[in-house]
């Protein structure tokens, strides 16, 4: 018997969870099938309903069982239980507490357990809130349990996190990958997984609604918050990852178009398309088949991302583990696709559109083009990720598809999307009159033209940029479009606030607050769009990046942009976890002291690997980003590389605005709250009638 009880406890919890979720699937599925084929009011129907309730409770208990398994793994990490192979390979005694916690998702088995636990958590919330719509929730719960069964099967048979290490018990572990020993790594993977896994819920509701031929569009209202919360987590997760790459990897950039990064971007793009096009279904009863397939695709892309990175199909610097679980994913994806196709063709008459497009110049057509652009971007990412595999199969040579390809193809698509961000909200539903177009577009048009002219006067001239004319042109276009779109957004706020001010007599600021609370969804959406504009400004700043590399001894100086760096000292240090080699650099700007930077290179004892610690001086206008590249073996003096990255902090601020806008859009508006309270007042009478 092992002196640590956690491996047995964890394995047992996973087995119990598997049995419970299998019961949820089978009992839930059987009861739904029976109720579908029985006449209402019969005893069999009541029996089905009871069976369904047991399935729901089993689903809730699955959450408890998976939580126990996750707790067992974290506990084993904290108690240094090296009898577990996973703990041995991903932790060591000297690892700080927060990173021991993050050991849960640092390897394949642990990240699958995290995935399973988050899925069980979402399932728990869905099943507890089943009264929103009992029957639709039952369908969604059953579909969700099928995904849960798949992940638990993987954990029990293919990638067990509680596998024991053969041989004598090791005194210390091999340590956590140094790249993961960074504060953001404690929150980035869970947030990304919350986004990935979360798309299972709208997928389950969409498939369930299609299976049961759910009348009307209420399922969209039910899943709207799920989708938005999931999208927000995925957005936060992606950009935390980008910020981590920027701060840790030390190459001066934040996005390298690596397959793992691409895998997270693809469902984000289709999810964003879904969030827009679903409004057409909600308001006009259009695009029903399209929306169903968008959410199916989004869910399948989350699985494809895992397949791409875990099965070793494409190589990635982020693929911290790869194994043969790819076959499991291929099988599961094929099964899901077959179920989706079968359900769609069986029920497609239920998805007939209620309205047609009335005008080319309308909000509906802008959504169509928005979807086209987002899906084109998604296709480019998927195509670029898979092209090396395809070229090896056809040509015999594994072609590299890196950043130059994605930047060249996706930047124009992104700029088109930025333009639509400004145009779309200004168009009315159904049809937009010429007068309205003129009224709404004149100010943004002027802002676009003036900013373009201003930038050219300031020196952004693609025709004079020589070899870099493309990036100069795209940045000019991005800044000008950003000015136009920002003007369009603020003009919308101003127009609405002026109406409220006339009605209430409040000042402009208070009137804007009232306006936003009246329609949180609309103005939250505008805030999200503004956040996207701010992000684009930050991305466009990349066209003016500078870098300089130099060997620096005592009192040696380096100039980059307006900054003057002087090396004050360079030395070594050591602690229980790592040895460090660092330089102290005084930074001045126009003769004034700005800051002192200490770029580091660390060598981790347990894993015997090195890692860069970037020294950063960030301002709204740009970042001074300094790395310690190593020492010259001949002179033993440090080699310092400095980057000047203009406007990069705008990207992180933009993400915060996007998240704030999403949270604001999630809050109920005054009108919705009024409707809800009216409905609540009507419920007692209605419930009484039902009870009688």
């Amino acid at each position: 018997m092992n002196q640590h009880p956690m491996p047995e406890f964890g394995s047992f919890s996973l087995l119990i969870a598997l049995m419970l979720s299998a019961y949820t699937l089978l009992a839930g599925g059987f009861s739904l099938w029976r109720s579908h084929h029985q006449f209402a009011g019969t005893a069999a129907l009541a029996q089905s309903s009871r069976l369904q309730e047991t399935a729901r409770r089993a689903g809730i208990c699955t959450f408890l069982a998976v939580s126990c398994a996750a707790f067992a793994l974290v506990y084993a990490a904290f108690t240094n239980d090296y009898s577990l192979s996973y703990i041995l390979h991903h932790t060591n005694r000297e690892l700080p507490t927060a990173y021991k916690f993050s050991a849960l998702w640092s390897g394949q088995e642990g990240s699958l357990l995290l995935w399973s636990w988050l899925l069980a958590t979402y399932g728990f919330v869905l099943r507890v809130r089943h009264k929103v719509d009992v029957r639709l929730s039952a369908y969604a719960s059953t579909i969700l349990s099928s995904v849960q069964v798949f992940f638990l099967l993987l954990l029990v048979f293919a990638a067990p996190p509680f596998a024991l290490e053969p041989g004598p018990l090791a005194a210390n572990g091999f340590g956590l990958n140094p790249l993961l020993q960074y504060p953001e790594m404690v929150i980035h993977p869970p947030m990304l997984y919350l986004g990935y896994v979360g798309f299972s819920v709208p997928f389950a509701f969409a498939l369930g609604a299609l299976m049961m031929r759910y009348p009307g569009e209420k399922w969209i209202a039910i899943t709207r918050r799920w989708t938005m919360v999931t999208w927000m987590f995925l957005t936060g997760g992606i950009f935390l990852g980008a910020h981590w790459a920027y701060s840790v990897l030390g190459w001066g950039g934040y996005w390298g178009w690596d397959p793992v990064e691409n895998a997270s971007l693809m469902p984000w793009l289709t999810g964003t398309a879904f969030l827009h096009s679903v409004m057409m279904q909600e308001k006009r009863g259009m695009m029903k088949s399209w929306n169903v397939w968008l959410i199916f695709t989004t869910f399948l892309l989350t699985l494809l991302g895992t397949l791409l990175t875990r099965a070793g199909l494409v190589s990635s610097v982020h693929a911290f583990a790869s194994s043969d679980i790819g076959n499991w994913f291929v099988g599961f994806m094929a099964l899901i696709l077959a179920v989706c196709l079968f359900t769609f063709f069986k029920q497609r008459d239920h998805l007939a559109t209620e309205n047609r497009l009335e005008s080319v110049v309308s909000r509906e057509s802008s959504f169509l083009f928005n979807n086209l652009v987002l899906l084109a971007a998604c296709f480019v990412v998927l195509w670029g990720t898979l092209f090396p595999v395809l070229s090896e199969y056809i040509d015999g040579t594994k072609t590299t598809v890196g950043a130059p390809f994605y930047n060249r193809v996706n930047i124009p698509i992104g700029l088109f999307l930025l333009m639509l961000t400004g145009i779309g909200p200004l168009l009315a539903w159904r049809a937009t009159s010429l007068r309205s177009i003129r009224r709404n577009f004149i100010l943004p048009g002027i802002a676009f033209a003036f900013s373009a002219a201003g930038l050219m006067i300031a020196g952004v001239r693609p025709w004079a940029a020589g070899d870099t004319w493309q990036s100069s042109f795209f940045s000019l276009l991005a800044f000008s479009l950003a000015a136009g779109v920002t003007t369009a957004i603020f003009a919308e706020f101003l127009r609405g606030a002026n109406v409220v001010r006339t009605q209430t007599g409040a000042n402009l600021l208070v009137a804007t607050g009232i306006l936003m609370r009246r329609n949180t969804r609309r103005y939250g959406g505008y805030l999200v769009h503004f956040g996207v504009v701010v992000m684009f400004i930050g991305i466009a700043g990349g066209a003016f990046n500078q870098s300089h590399e130099q060997e620096m001894g005592f009192n040696d100086a380096m100039n980059i942009g307006p900054y003057h760096l002087v090396c004050q000292s360079y030395t070594q240090d050591s602690n229980a976890n790592y040895d460090t080699d660092f330089a102290l650099l005084d930074v001045t700007k126009h003769g004034k002291h700005v800051t002192q930077l200490a770029p580091e290179k660390r060598f981790y004892h347990a894993s015997e690997t090195s890692s860069t610690m970037v020294a950063l001086h960030s301002t709204p206008l740009g970042d001074l980003y300094v790395i310690f590249e190593g020492r010259n073996p001949d002179t033993n003096r440090p080699i310092i590389k400095a980057f000047l990255n203009p406007l990069i902090s705008w990207i992180w601020v933009g993400v915060l605005i996007v998240i704030a806008g999403t949270l604001f859009a999630l809050a109920p508006s005054v009108a919705a709250r009024r409707r809800e309270s009216l409905a609540a007042a009507a419920i007692p009478a209605h419930a009484e009638v039902q009870h009688v």
Binding site: W251, F379, W383, T399, T400, A403, A453, A464, R521
Partner: protein, 170 residues
Amino acid sequence: MFDRMARRWLGSALVCLLAVVMLGADGSSDPGARFGRIGHNMMCVCSCGQVLLECNHVGCPDSARMINELQAQLAGPNGTGADSLILNWFVNKYGASVLAAPIRGGFDNVAWIVPIAIFLLGTVGTALLVRLWTQKQSLALAHGPHTDAHSSNSPRADALRDRIRRETEY
């Protein structure tokens, strides 16, 4: 009146834009920028998956040598020719995977053509779809039955009110 003013503004803006466009066009290319451009079109072959000039691994066995080779190529006879000459030199030495993007011609062209073709097809398809839908809608309006919602309390009027509320809410 408003139209005339807008046209005047637009005309002035265009004149300003053209004046600025005419300023200082020289189009020169400096060797530092060329080194950066070619270096960013190649991958480091140490399996780190990073672009050559961005590979910063401690003790990377390849990047320093490759950067020196790039500088030598720029200074040598290939330096006066097109970028492709230098890139081909690297492909011959390290294989096709040294290129950061598919630019060798042949099947590599498919990588560039397919996304553009899909985007164009999608755009044309969406435009056709929009046109088809708007035509069908105008036909339906021309031949469809006239709605009769005389009574403001009729279910039809209620449904209409509900629809208007939905469609003007956000």
